[in-house]
Symmetry: C2
DNA sequence: CTGGATGCAAAAGATTTGCAAGGTG
DNA sequence: CACCTTGCAAATCTTTTGCATCCAG
């Protein structure tokens, strides 16, 4: 499994005849520090936090993320309705719990999902990619608030 | 839990002071027959299969789906990178296995996921909405083909 | 009748792509 | 030096909105 360091990225790229560029390193660094972020967030991060390194064009971010996903350095998940979020592959040791009430994203031990992955493998021959796993539902807090808004609700900050 | 029939939809709508319109029924019927479909597919379906009923504007489809999701008649999932897919809520008795190799979507017994939901509930107090659950990975067939395309591959029909 | 719903067209976003210029190996 | 990459701008797609008109209740 690919590492998170710039060196590891460089190597992974060169191994495939691809080039290690400062933009790609910036994108990787952004994904690393942000935990999970949309392409746009990555772009913003690079321009802000990594100002010294200069900015990276949004389309380059898209291309870099797609490439890095292909070589296994990052992976993406659809957390909400909007853009997908990317995360460093080696950081994938937890699963995402996306609350549709407050929009919060918490994490839980990926261990919990192994039985499911195992079961699916047996029953369907399907190899589950746990890196993409995210659960949608309601966090403890929102579960309570849900009661009285049976019809209008579930959208504190949905968008 | 809401039913799939037009009558049930009408009732669910009226109960909330909302209106039962032919467009909404068409959309529900499309979702029902398609199993899981994107807003666009729903729109196409209505114009083709339900031609007699006339067509429904795409934005109406979006509004209808959003509404029906709110009242619990349908639910959506992010199966692939693209648009989300909607399904009738009462049809949610299986989980989706999305193959990133061939793009195929197969189903597995939702039962398999109960232990996970249970575990998450205990450890995090998070109430998982199984209707939104989909697993990404590789189906049996693609798992074999994967071996020799370590870098170029995984995109038979990705888009 | 009255207020919610629809169609249309325009607006807003999110992604992708063509291409010339630039940088890595 | 060759060829992969980037930036930019334009092209696509997807989803949302404003509004006048229409229709269910």
């Amino acid at each position: 499994m690919a590492q998170v360091t710039a060196q590891a990225l460089d190597q992974a790229l060169r191994e495939r005849g691809l080039r290690a560029t400062p933009q790609r390193r910036s994108v990787l660094r952004a994904v690393t520090e942000l935990g999970h972020a949309t392409p746009e967030e990555v772009c913003d991060f690079v321009q802000t936090e990594s100002a010294e390194a200069g900015s990276v064009n949004l389309s380059t971010v898209y291309r870099a993320l797609e490439l890095m996903e292909k070589i296994g350095v990052v992976s993406h998940t659809h957390l909400t309705h909007g853009s997908p979020t990317y995360q460093v592959a080696s950081h994938v040791n937890h699963l995402h719990l996306v609350c549709r009430g407050c929009g919060s994203i918490t994490e839980a031990d990926l261990e919990l999902a192994h039985p499911l992955a195992e079961a699916v493998r047996h029953s369907s021959g399907f190899e589950t990619d746990l890196a993409h796993l995210s659960l949608h539902g309601l966090c403890g807090g929102c579960r309570d608030g849900e009661r009285d808004e049976a019809r209008g609700g579930t959208r504190e900050q949905e968008r």
